[in-house]
Amino acid sequence: MAAALLEFGYLFVVLALTGAAALRLGLSVIPLYVVGGVVAGPYVAGRLGLPYVADGEVIALLAELGIVLLLFFLGLEFSLDRLRASGSEIGRAGVVDLGVNLPLGIAIGLLLGWSFVESLLLGGIVYISSSAIVTKTLIDLGWIADPESEPILGTLVFEDLAIAVYLAVVTSLVLGGEGGFGAIGRSLAIAFGFLGLLFVAVQYGTGLFTRVLDIGNQEAFVLRALAVVIPVAGAALALGVSEAVAAFFVGMGFSASGHRERIERTLIPVRDVFAAIFFFWIGLGTDPMLLTAAAVPLALAVVLTTPAKVVSGYVGGRTYDLSASRSLRVGLGMVPRGEFSLVIAALAASGTTPVMREVIPAFAVGYVFVMSALGTVLMQQSDLVERLVFRGESDGVVKGGQ
């Protein structure tokens, strides 16, 4: 017991230090937590003979809670009404984003000679932008007040929905294993049956969700919210259904209950603690040596998917009737990847093939690290990028209002 507690103490010291470093350097905490995990884990500290945090069952369970709470909050922020109210613009920008980036990732996988499921995992990792990093950078740069924030945040909402559907399918494919079409069909049927039931419960159970949380005591409130979301996620996983998507649906159910703001206020610290453990745990399982095995896919993905996101974002911005330069910023704003690419990597790690178990998680860690940094830099240097991109056509043209 003492050894385990000491190990967790070590974990939190590393998280606190990397978090402080991120604040100091003005970087996103997500990649730095991962680096903390790599350094303090068996593959670096362990190999050097230093005390290290082992990749045990307890920490994996706490990391799992991190995934569940991340997706629960996504569901909480997400409402079908909001998607409907924002109308067709989110739809168009979101479809362009999905239509360009997911197939591109799949194509890269197939090009590397990977199986379809492996390529689909790669597609998901390169498709989904990081809500946390993008939103934080929007606020830091003051873009939040400008028109480009709406297509960026709108597309993130669309991605959140797309990722829920994607995870539901891919979880069945990965956990369903190699049983051929019959087995895959069966696991997909179970997944969509369970999620369908959950969706109906969430749509018509608003009254129930409201009553469950009608309690003044803060401790009871937090415990009740967790007592709904964690068992549902656990039941989903036991059936081979994505626990993350189940948590997303429960979040959607609570978002309509009128308790949304209170849940956010009281549960954000809980989520942040477990999410930090999740990112750390991703690092623990990453062997930096494997990064060399992932080097080719990584280089290919960085070179191809960065311009693809910029272009799809640009087109998305245009569907919002933004000017060319603002549309370019929408594209730059979508470049950072982060937490959800790592959620997909965690799913891949539970797969059966060596590519899923080793190459994809190492790829995802490297990719998130490069793209979160590159994306943030591109956003900060958007003026420079703008001058480079529009150099040809803007000769002698004075930009309005500047």
Partner: protein
């Protein structure tokens, strides 16, 4: 005036207010309660952040802007009504009024106007129930009680208007 409202999913809400000269004031209200206030010079320019306030401070500043704490309506005189026709009034003594340099008894204000001086405010000091020998100085504020008509006469006499 047009106010544009839009949702910022995961962040909060944004309100844009047209300022009339083509510029816009933009208020981003975060879900945490923080308010960020920006100004955008024109459609093409970028927003410039002016300041940010936490929830509590934003509400306090908001009531100030709304005028709930203070309305700037030229308070040359403050008056308080007692019953139907009797007033308490605060009257500042003009520099060249006749009463300056005289005691209340000498200036005979009560007999002349019908209103009585119940206090004299001089800087931070208050002379309550001043007697006939109390001296009136320029810049004093006299607190006067009397019928409406009497108070009006008193004001005319003392402010030098």
């Amino acid at each position: 005036m047009t106010v544009y409202e839009s949702d910022l999913p995961g962040v909060g809400k944004k309100h844009e207010v047209e300022l009339g000269d083509g510029a816009r004031l933009i208020i981003v209200t975060h879900n945490t309660g923080k308010r960020e206030v920006f100004r955008r010079e024109s459609v093409d320019s970028d927003s410039e952040k002016l300041f940010e306030l936490d929830d509590k401070l934003a509400r306090q500043v908001g009531t100030l802007l709304e005028g709930a704490y203070f309305q700037p309506v030229e308070p040359t005189r403050i008056e308080t009504l007692l019953g139907d026709s009797t007033l308490i009034e605060w009257v500042e003594v003009g520099a060249d009024a006749d009463v300056v340099g005289k005691t209340l008894g000498e200036s005979n204000l009560r007999q002349a106007t019908g209103a009585s001086v119940i206090a004299i405010e001089r800087d931070d000091e208050v002379i309550a129930s001043p007697g006939g020998d109390a001296m009136v100085e320029a810049g004093d504020t006299l607190v006067v009680i009397g019928p409406r008509e009497a108070c009006r006469n008193f004001v005319e006499l003392v402010t030098g208007a």
